[in-house]
Symmetry: C2
């Protein structure tokens, strides 16, 4: 197989992470999600807990205060920059699947990258976060809205384009057809891309 990097943006509860994991298994290439956090931490930039806390976090009012007191970049931006380098290295080194973290934007100059966005109707996502993430049913819709808002804000700030807008990706798809079925569609796209 040609060198290929597949980035996956995802709505919360759409199964995007799991789809990426199964896709990586099917293509027999590494999968990176939380692993990026560990890599950033292990390379000595920050502690694992620090990276976790500031991972995919958008800017907030607190940042202005932080800058004014510390005269350095806000914590989330420091983490973004550390992840930036790690993601660039990963993509250069080997074929892989990378979840979130503006990887599509970070790798925009590479011609061997396929950018995917996974979404699903709200009722399917509620079902999923209750079943797999242990979110209370009564709070599921609010949690989904909050996480999506945060992801969109993070993406739109750092990537300087619009999260979930079709034109920004090679492939956007509704995963409610099923996890394996969605993996198959992405595989078909990657095959076409690599032809």
């Amino acid at each position: 197989m040609k060198h290929i990097v597949i980035t996956i943006g995802r709505e919360y509860g759409s199964g995007g992470r799991f789809i990426g994991k199964k896709l990586a298994e099917a293509l027999n290439i590494p999968f990176y999600d939380k692993e990026i956090i560990e890599k950033v931490a292990s390379e000595g930039h920050f502690s694992k807990e620090f990276v976790e806390k500031n991972d995919e976090k958008p800017n907030g009012i607190i940042n202005a205060l932080y800058i004014s007191q510390n005269y350095t970049l806000p914590l989330n931006q420091q983490v973004f920059l550390a992840q930036f380098s790690v993601i660039r290295e990963m993509a250069k080194k080997e074929s892989c699947v990378i979840i979130g973290r503006c990887a599509d934007y970070i790798l925009a100059d590479r011609t061997d990258t396929v950018n995917v966005f996974v979404h699903a109707p709200i009722e399917k996502r509620i079902e999923r976060v209750v079943k797999y993430y242990g979110v209370e049913e009564a709070k599921a819709q609010d949690t989904i809205k909050k996480v999506d808002k945060s992801r969109a804000k993070y993406y739109n700030f750092f990537a300087d384009k619009e999260w979930g807008k079709a034109k920004g990706y090679h492939l956007c798809l509704d995963s409610s057809i099923g996890i394996d079925e969605t993996v198959n569609v992405i595989k078909a796209y990657v095959e076409g891309f690599n032809k």
Copy 2:
């Protein structure tokens, strides 16, 4: 094959129409684009020329003037309503592929509809409109912008959602991988959808 209706929204020059035609051939089901115009005309609502002129046209300032003088719906809205009925009939009668005309919105209550949006990078679209639509190279970019703007305006007005926003479709894809390759990906999605 189960009853299935595939609607295709498309950026101008993305090859969406041709992709829809090849997809319909591959699935051995009817394909409707300009054919809708003929059907609306043949059912006696309007002349073919009249429908053609008002096909997929957004509202403009002229409409306000038209309403104030004629006390009836503007021409583009009359055509939209006639197409609305024809598209509903087509989808009910048999499996088919329908290009544009807010068919995804018109058929939103059907559970056997897959909504697709096809886009492509601007340089690929310029190449295509020059080669196949006879547009002058110097004017290609302007023509593309103008047609897309008109399609988006038409869609956003009638469909009351956003043209080209991933969440509004089951599948959005960049056709620059090739016409046949794009058809294959849509087929893979339809197979998953029909499982």
